[in-house]
Symmetry: C2
Subunit: 309 residues, 2 copies
């Protein structure tokens, strides 16, 4: 630990939306930190160097992490094991390895297996956009967002405190959570919404009675919001669903039951059941806005934007 | 027809988000038009008068429409029949009656029954926000949005042309469509997305393993977008589902089948099936942005907003 910096040298493996935003956030908020990085894709490495996502981009993960005190793996969760394998022999003995993956039990297991002698504390900043790649990142992505840290049993409290300080420096609020509970919470707040959005966009694309052009033209009735989520990175999301299978299937089962109940209410003309649910869901929206997790402007402020444009 | 105005006097019945926006749009873009209005709720009438949503608010629907050339019913689709009944005896013989309802076959039937001797041409501007009530409307709501006009068989072409000119003056693009086809198109682009959003917000509120507070805190992972839609007006949406039952149940059935296929792919670890769908859905998003139906800024520009705030 150097002066006030939680980590003097941070290495980022994977320079897409998340990795790039971590790099830009560190540059903005922890200017004394040495930043190195690597991405498996040569084109992403070149673009990351151009944008200055990190101070130095290396041609191998091993070189990028060699001197680092904190290594953050910003790769799809299905690629964590192999990324950890690539850096295992090159890590400094005292270095902390963390990540930004959206499922935590599977990542904890993969990293513990690949790095048995290393300090590992997984983390998940709950933030993102539908963009991906080295041009997608921005320094304020984590501002006012939560970062969930899931320390394994026996993790060093001082390392947990330093990782907490790191994410707080990037503007996040930190919560410590058990990995299994994290996976349940994210299954309902993130994974199921993505699964449903992907499904309905797929359903709408395959109709024989309504053309694709009509779906696109009249999407302002609600559909367009789902397409934003369904434009998220395909590899990242494939891995999330496969790695958090049990929790996702559990939440999906509950959702399907609730949807069947609503289907039945529509079929039988039970307006009261519909009205009761629709009234209840309004309150959840109000709470999210009060908690600062969404934009209170109606229609996400689209009307302002369009009036101006 | 007075000068260049498609209608010299427009009456608006129902002064919520849609009715208020029509009123403000007319004031902004068709300044010579006389605007009268009515709402069943006395508090809404008072607020509408304060905001100047129309030139004059009347204590009864009959008085509001007595001199009008165009009457637009901006009430929930389940209230169309009774609203039409209230004005039937007061309408000028040549007046055109239209509406803004989200389902069109049921409205066409209700209006034809209640107003057998009147010209009726239903319409549906595909625009809205999650807000409702007399404070929710704004003049630019219809800018760049589509308005679907569904003339019944034998409708006067000149009246169709005037109604088209009216909506174009408010900034909308107009499409003429068969009512039955409209109901299918909107079932997938608007009604099913709302039904799904209401359902998942309900599911998330009822979990015993994840608290309501956690759902709200970590909603930035995707869930919050659904809550915006699920905050829409409960009465309006109850009526939409009950009035467009057949098309909604058809689309819901297709969605459920597709969701089951995805559930199976997750259960069996079929990553290729997931990846293929997630890649296909990205293209739909691009088309919607190209067609001008959504904001291209990532995350709806939330990052800009939050960075500024």
């Amino acid at each position: 630990m150097t002066g006030d910096l939680p980590f003097a040298h941070v290495a980022i493996i994977g320079l897409g939306l998340l990795g790039g935003s971590v790099g830009l956030g560190v540059s903005a908020h922890l200017p004394g930190v040495r930043l190195t990085g690597y991405d498996a894709d040569p084109a992403t490495r070149a673009r990351a160097a151009e944008r200055g996502l990190v101070d130095e981009v290396f041609p191998s993960a091993a070189e990028a992490v060699a001197e680092a005190d904190l290594v953050i793996l910003c790769v799809p969760v299905g690629a964590m094991a192999s990324a950890a394998g690539e850096i295992a022999a090159a890590l400094k003995p005292g270095a902390l390895v963390s990540d930004v993956g959206s499922s935590k039990q599977s990542v904890a297991k993969a990293l513990a297996t690949a790095l048995p002698d290393q300090a590992v504390i997984p983390a998940h900043p709950v933030a993102g956009t539908e963009r991906s790649g080295p041009d997608a990142g921005f320094a304020t992505l984590f501002q006012h967002r939560w970062c969930i840290i899931t320390p394994p049993e026996g993790a060093d409290p001082e390392l947990i405190a330093r990782l907490t300080a790191f994410w707080e420096a990037l503007g996040a609020r930190v919560e410590i959570m058990d990995a299994a509970h994290h996976d349940l919470v994210l299954a309902i707040t993130s994974h199921l919404p993505h699964l449903i959005a992907y499904t309905i966009v797929g359903t709408a694309s395959d109709l024989e009675t309504v053309t694709r052009g009509e779906v696109i033209k009249y999407s302002a009735g609600g559909f367009r919001d789902f397409t934003r989520i369904a434009a998220s990175d395909p590899v990242m999301w494939r891995d999330v669903f496969l790695s958090n299978k049990d929790a996702v299937l559990d939440m999906l089962q509950r959702f399907s039951e609730d949807l069947s109940a609503l289907q039945r209410a529509i079929r039988w003309g039970d307006g009261d059941a519909l009205f009761d649910l629709f009234t209840r869901t309004r309150a959840v929206r109000r709470s999210i806005i009060e908690e600062g997790q969404d934009d209170a402007r109606p229609d996400f402020g689209r009307s302002d934007h369009e009036a101006a444009g």
